[in-house]
Amino acid sequence: MNNSRSVNILRARYRHYAGVQLVTSAGHTLLWCWLVFSALFLRERIAGHESWRLPEVFFPHIDLARPRAADPLRFVVQLFWLLFMRPRATRVPRASQIKTYWHGRIAAKGRRWQDSLISVWQRRLFLQQRDDAVAGRHRVPLTLLLAAVLAILCITVPLDPMAQFIFGGSLFVVLLVCNRLPGRFPRMLMIVLSLLASCRYIWWRCSSTLNFDDPLGLALGIVLLLAELYAWLVLLLGYFQNIWPLNRPVEALPADSGRWPSVDIFVPSYNENLEVVRATIYACMGLDWPSDKLNIYLLDDGRRDEFRDFARDVGVHYIRRADNRHAKAGNINNALRQTSGEFVAIFDCDHIPTRAFLQLAMGGFLNDPKLALVQTPHHFFSPDPFERNLSNFRKVPNEGGLFYGLIQNGNDLWNGAFFCGSCAIMRRQALEEIGGVAVETVTEDAHTSLRLHRRGYNSAYLRAPLAAGLATETLSAHIGQRIRWARGMAQILRLDNPLRGPGLKLQQRLCYFNAMLHFLSGIPRLIFLLAPLAFLLLHTYIIYAPALMILLYVAPHMLYSSVVNANIQGRYRHSFWGEVYETVLSWYIARPTTAALISPNKGGFNVTEKGGLIHEQYFDWVISRPYILLVLLNIFGLLIGCWRLFVGPVNEISAVLLNLFWAVYNLLILGGAVAVAAEARQLRHDHRVQVRFPAMVKLPSGHVLQAELIDFSLSGVRLKLSPDAMQQIGQRLHLVMDRAGREYSFAMTAVFKGRELVGLRLCDQTPSNMIHYVQCTFARADNWVRWQSNMSVDKPMSSMAAVMSISVQGYRRLLRSAPKPLPQLLNAIKALVAMLRSLRPQPITVRVEEL
């Protein structure tokens, strides 16, 4: 009925324009186009006139129903005059005033007015209002429909190379303009453009690049296509996930601390060093929370007496159990049964909370009774193997930066932020409702929050780093941890698929699905690393299309997505680093994820080892074996490709060049992966945390000197003093640090003394003193907030350069550690290069007198 009414309105408008005279066929088309266009897309009133009447108001000498040959010229002249020459018009009554007046009339007269004779003016108003209702009802779905049609056209219409070039190029200009604009809407437009290019590429790949005549090419082509479909899906879901990062603000607690709930702190431990656990316990004991509402439990799965004694000495609860069933999840569940606090905060034993943790993170729970989980970032004050081996700690965002900086924040918008195992608070009643922490998979954390979400509970993510911990030490330990995550995610995908099952909203399903999909990246990545070899070695066209077309289609897809991702992720992940991280893991997660997808119930929980030492610099040959194989294959392909370039037919040259480029890119990324395998030395037991805050030094003589704290660890600090002050420093002194307006003094012994720096070791390591020490150092509330301030925003080209130099460094390290002839070869090449460089003419400075 609505449709017929709107058509009637349009007919009425048509008659208005047509009048009584004959309508030409051109006029007929033009008029209908205008009427449909104005009804769908224009506001009801523009410049004080009903929008559908704009032509007759502003172009009175143009008759839409009977267009004449010179009308376009008339239109242009009139438009020019309207825009630039016409004197400002007098104000017409505002549409809203008329509307209010009219609403009053309707109320007064009821529906009878329809029959009564009203002036033409009022009748027009009525018509207009009715049109609005109709148009409003249809505008959204119709716009969507039109957009969908347009999008499908953009994606599917085949274009010749020139047209495709212009299409891609012009959209790229728009993209770059948007890239310059601040705000979220230009970013969304960029996402739309990138989606358009990527979908167009995928459509083209699916529809016109498979060669059904060549079985080998077809098989390999389908494999590559599947990998590309995976990457495309991840891109799509990633855009969805990160479209509007929530940046949730901290919610305040009530001023009356009597209304704050009771909190149990769980610190599960299995085989970690007591040293690592001590700092965490000390920090937990200093949390700003009413002491009668704070219980700290050390959950020791290692059944170690020294842990029990330590807990007794410092006065925290100690829970141990007879078996180790279900590892960490079982450990927490066991403790849940023996405790009773309203909330449970979980810290891995190496995550040191800052004193403000509970006060900042608990607010949300009091305001939202359905909130079951608050997660905060995992922040690391020691470099992970990537950062250490590539020596870019605190310069380039690390692997976790993207997840904790952006993705969780994006998930939070869709109420899909999930539990990450540590640095989180959970509502006990909700946790008990789902039967405690999930034990079916090895990633109990994500699975637990999935269950909470299924029960209709909410989750929140606070991006403030409120706790900090130790990163994994060695590359092999790091990879082991990622293997566990990957396997666990694959298990969840099989056992409790977020796309199915009750309780989740579509958005939450997509967030979880993307998180799981992310860990399946192993095999697709390996396919990308091997793909150019199909042509270079086997000489089959796995993308059955001319090289020019491939370039014209793939370039927008890659370029747009990298520009958009650099824009979205700039602060959290630099371009090309993601590829390096993924490549390192790809081989190792490929098998376990596949195995877990096939038989999800197999396999145990492996514990991530932390806090270790690496005495000697070494090259991890075992870990890097697969990359070296891939490197060798790509180099072989490169050589064959060069051979083809000179020997092969001329019409293949562009295809060879394209594949060579691809292989070189692969080698670049693989070089980064190889560089990570060269383990740098790690000699100190305690990690020093670089900081800068003022402190005081009290000398036995009674003098107090100003100093600046440069770094600290659990066993001591380094201070910077002026050279003059340094002369007064003896062996024994007191360091005074400030914490929340109160000063604490620690007896220290100087262990080394430089011109401006002095290294101090903490003398008194008794629990009571250590609590204060940890409070003044690791647990400072503002410690980690400014941590990333000196991290640069992503610049794709310089990021590319950084990855390149890392890659070259990787190959150099590889050759240096390689068996016999290779290091010598490297030296020979270096000597040769140095020799060649020395041949070039040298700039000289000429003295004036000699002239």
Partner: protein, 247 residues
């Protein structure tokens, strides 16, 4: 001229040393400073390296009917000093009688001093109870110096109303950070007088006494000491207050 008045909660909290060093720090920040001693002890001059045998001062001049301008000295770093003057017992009694009188000559003296082409005046005043009509001086800020000991805290709690006015701020002097009693009382003061407590404290430091013996301010004799930083912070706070009041 921005006028700062420092007086102790009770005797022996180190007001004179704070006044001398604060004035030096203010002078170091480019403010022309005048130090006025209202104490009969006449000790501020010792911190400012005046000749000990010199008897002149504003009180001396007042009794002798002379001009206080003849009693003012300038320190090498630019600070001006107007000492109290050396008086014997009967003269002192006469001065106190006049000062405690309703017709106290002090406001007139201050009015004259304010006419001088200087930026700020630091007044080292006696304990508040010794000279009750200090509030008639209309100073811009009164800094009440307290030590982190039980006497200071008790007096602040007990006499807070009469001791403190709208322009008052409490400064904790001689804080020994390693000493639990000191930290605890400082914390109590911070909790009870949150709005009145100055954001910085002065730590107990031997260099303050040493600087006095060397006839130098701390910021010159021991630039690396914590005390230097403490006084500089306090001076920054004072000059910020001065800027705010000028606006």
């Amino acid at each position: 001229m921005f006028t700062l008045l420092l007086s102790g909660v009770h005797g022996g909290v180190g007001t004179t040393a704070v006044a001398a060093n604060l004035a030096a720090a203010l002078q170091g920040q480019g403010l022309r400073c005048l130090c006025l001693d209202l104490n009969a002890d006449n000790t501020l001059r010792l911190s400012l390296a005046a000749r000990p045998e010199e008897p002149a001062g504003w009180a001396r001049a007042m009794l002798d009917g002379g001009d206080w301008r003849d009693a003012a000295w300038q320190h090498a770093d630019g600070r001006w000093l107007l000492p109290f003057g050396e008086l014997n017992a009967s003269e002192l009694r006469e001065v106190w009688r006049r000062l405690l009188n309703d017709e106290s000559p002090l406001p007139a003296l201050l009015a004259q001093l304010r006419e001088l082409p200087m930026d700020c005046m630091v007044i080292d005043a006696p304990v508040v109870t010794a000279l009750p009509n200090l509030d008639s001086l209309a100073v811009d800020c009164q800094i009440v110096v307290a030590a982190p000991d039980s006497a200071s805290y008790t007096l602040l709690k007990q006499r807070g109303d009469s001791l403190l006015s709208a322009t008052s701020r409490i400064l904790i002097n001689r804080l020994q950070s390693g000493v639990e009693l000191n930290s605890d009382i400082a914390k109590l003061m911070a909790d009870d007088f949150a709005a009145l407590l100055l954001p910085s404290v002065i730590h107990e430091d031997l260099v303050i006494a040493e600087a006095e013996a060397q006839l130098q301010p701390v910021i010159v004799s021991a630039p690396d000491s914590q005390a230097t930083q403490d006084f500089q912070r306090l001076a920054v706070w004072c000059s910020a207050l001065r800027m705010r009041q000028r606006e």
